[in-house]
C-alpha cells in the first residue's frame, strides 16, 4: 500500500482579481521507503506541493479540492492539533536554508530533544542519548560535545546535517525535503545527498525530494515527477525520465542542461517562458512552446497517460 497518496490536489490562492490556481489536479503516490523526486522550474508548484503535504500552506492559499492520504488516512483538512502530531512523527521536513531552519537561540541538542520528546514517549536522558546517536549518524564529529553548541557555531554543511537529524528525530516515515542542497557548495552537496540517501534507506523512510537540479535527482531518486505550471507533465523511473523522456517539456529541459561530459555549440533552448498562473493557456499548459503541438493540445487538457516506460500528460501518447 502506498505511504502517501495525493489525489487530484487543487491549491488555489484567492486574489482580489480572481482566484489563482497554483496546483491544478496533481496526483501521485509515494511507496514506503521510496525516494521520489519532484523537479520543475520556478513557479511550477513543486514547493507548494511539499507545503500542502506538510500542512504548511500559507494563507490565503488553500487546498480547494482533492485529497492527501498518509497511510490511507486523510490529512489534508485536519485540525491544527492533529496535524501537529503528524508533523514530525510521521512526516519530517527539510528546507533549503540551514541558517533559518534552526532556532538560533537554542542549542542544537535542545531542539533535537524537544522534537524527540514531543513525539516519542521517552525521558530526557534517553532523548539526549538518541539525539547524540543521531548527530553521530549524520556525520557530525564529536557529537557528544557539539550537541550543546548553538547553530551559529556550525558551518553551513554541518547545519544542514543537523537539520536532517532534526527531521529524522521522531522517526518519521516520510521526509519532505525542499531544495535541501541548493544553498550549499557543490562538494558539500555531494556529501549531504549521500547522507540523506543512506539514512533514509537505513530507516526505511520515504523521501519526497523537491529540487530544480536534475543532477541531484539523477543521483538520489528512484522515481521523478516533472512539474510544469502547476501540473505534472511526466512521472516515472528516474533513468527513463532522463534518458527516454516522453513529454516534450522534459525532453526540452534535458536538452537545455549543459553537460559536463561533452561540448555543444549551442544549448538547446525552449523559447518563451513558463506561463504565469493567471495566464495559463487552455488545453495543455505547454502547448505554446511545444514544437510538436497539434490541435488537440489547445482544445483539451491531457491527463497523465502511459507513454512507454513513464507516464506523461501529452496527447502524442494517446494510444
Amino acid at each position: 500500500m502506498s505511504l502517501l497518496q495525493v489525489k487530484n490536489l487543487v491549491v488555489e490562492f484567492p486574489h482580489r482579481r480572481g482566484t489563482l490556481r497554483a496546483l491544478d489536479d496533481i496526483s501521485f503516490d509515494i511507496a514506503p521507503g521510496e525516494i521520489l523526486g519532484v523537479v520543475g522550474e520556478s513557479g511550477a508548484g513543486k514547493s507548494l506541493t511539499g507545503a500542502s503535504i506538510i500542512g504548511l500552506l500559507e494563507p490565503p492559499g488553500r487546498i480547494a479540492s482533492g485529497q492527501i492520504l498518509l497511510e490511507g488516512e486523510r490529512i489534508d483538512h485536519l485540525p491544527h492539533e492533529k496535524m501537529r502530531h503528524i508533523r514530525g512523527r510521521k512526516i519530517g521536513a527539510i528546507f533549503q536554508d540551514p541558517l533559518t531552519s534552526l532556532n538560533p537561540l537554542y542549542t542544537v541538542g535542545r531542539q533535537l530533544v524537544e522534537t524527540i520528546r514531543a513525539h516519542l514517549p521517552v525521558d530526557a536522558a534517553e532523548a539526549r542519548r538518541q539525539a547524540i546517536a543521531l548527530l553521530e549518524d549524520t556525520g557530525i564529529p564529536a557529537a557528544a560535545e557539539r550537541i550543546d553548541h548553538y547553530p551559529h557555531q556550525f558551518s553551513g554543511g554541518m547545519r544542514q546535517r543537523v537539520v536532517i537529524a532534526l527531521a529524522l528525530a521522531a522517526q518519521p516515515q516520510l521526509i519532505v525535503a525542499d531544495e535541501p542542497t541548493t544553498a550549499l557548495d557543490v562538494s558539500i552537496q555531494a556529501q549531504i545527498i549521500q547522507l540523506l540517501k543512506r539514512l533514509c534507506r537505513e530507516r526505511g523512510a520515504a523521501v519526497m525530494l523537491i529540487t530544480h537540479d536534475m543532477g541531484v535527482i539523477a543521483e538520489t531518486c528512484d522515481r521523478v515527477a516533472v512539474m510544469y505550471a502547476g501540473r505534472i507533465a511526466e512521472i516515472g523511473p528516474v533513468h527513463e525520465v532522463i534518458n527516454r523522456s516522453a513529454h516534450p517539456y522534459t525532453q526540452g529541459l534535458m536538452a537545455a542542461i549543459p553537460d559536463i561530459t561533452e561540448d555543444r555549440e549551442r544549448l538547446h533552448q525552449i523559447d518563451g517562458a513558463m506561463p504565469r498562473l493567471n495566464a495559463i493557456p487552455p488545453g495543455c499548459a505547454y502547448n505554446p512552446r511545444c514544437p510538436r503541438a497539434f490541435d488537440r493540445c489547445t482544445a483539451q487538457r491531457p491527463d497523465l497517460m502511459n507513454a512507454g516506460a513513464t507516464r506523461a500528460a501529452c496527447w502524442l501518447h494517446d494510444a
Binding site: E41, S187, I193, D213, I242
Partner: protein, 334 residues
Amino acid sequence: MPDQARPLVQARDLAKTFDVSAPWLNRVLERRPRQLLHAVDGVSFDIAKGKTLALVGESGCGKSTVARLLVGLYEPTRGGLQFDGQDAHAAFKSSQGRALRRRVQMIFQDPYASLNPRWLVEDIVGEPLREHGLITDPARLRERVGELLQSVGLSPLDMAKYPHQFSGGQRQRISIARALATEPEFLVCDEPTSALDVSVQAQVLNIMKDLQRQQGLTYLFISHNLAVVRHVSDEVGVMYLGRLVELADKHTLFANPQHPYTRMLLDAIPKMHDTGKARTPVQGEVPNPLNPPSGCAFNPRCPLANDRCRTERPQLLDLRGVKVACHAVEEGRV
C-alpha cells in the same frame, strides 16, 4: 602563442585584503585582535582577446572579489592589472578612468537587485550612454536603446516598462543590454545564470555566446557550476580560498584535471546520465577564510598532503602545459 597578440587582460599577483576587525572601541575594550580577510591572495592570469576565461570555485574562494577587482569596484591591496597594455587601476583613479569604464563592463548575479526598481528600462539601459555623453539626442538615444534590447532578444517596446514587469531571465537580458551600451570590449560576468532556471539559463548563455561571436567580446565568466563553465569557456581557472590552484584550457582541465581539488570538484558534480553510480565522497568543508590553513590551503582535505604541503605554500607552476599550484603534482606523486 602569437607574439603580436598581447592578451587583452593581464592580472599579476592580484590580492585583496579586507579589514573585518571589530570596531575600534570594541577591540580596545574586549582586547580583540585585528582580523584580516585575504579574499584574494595572489592571483595571476591572462585573457586573450575574444576568449572566455572562467573562474570556478566554491564559497569563500574569492572569485567574486576577483571580478570586482577587474572592473575597478575594488582597489587591489597588492599586484597589478593591465588592460590592453595600460595599468588599469591607475587609469581608474585618473581622468582616463571614464574611457576605461567604457571598455569594461559587468553583469551581475541577481537579476532582481541589478536593475533599479524605480527606473524605466529605457533609462536603465540608456544610462551608460548618457553618462559618457555618447548620444545626446533623445530620439537617437531611444533608438539605440531599442536596438540594444533587440540584440538581446527583447522588444523595443519593453523600454517603457519597469523591471518588476519582467521575469528573471528577461531582467538578466536587460542587464546584458545595459552592459553592451557603450560597446565594451571586456565583460566580467559574475554568475550571470546562477539564479535562473535551466531553460532560461540556456537562452541567456546562447545569447552571450552569440554576442561574443558577433562583437568579438572577451569574457571573464565567474561560476560555481562546472557544466556551465564547460559550455562557455575557453580557459578555466580553479580557485580555492583566494588562490588559483589550477589554470588550463577547457579540454585539458576536464579531460585530465591535475590538482586534487579540481578532481574532487569534478567528482562531486552530480552526473545525470550515470544514474545510480555513487560518487567519491568529498572530505571536509571549505575552511574559514579568516583562518586559512598554513602552507597549501587545501592540505586538510587533500589525500596527498605531506609535510611540505602543510608548511610551504605552492606556487602556480607551468607543468606539462597546465598551470597548477600543487606540490604533489610537481613532485609527480599524482
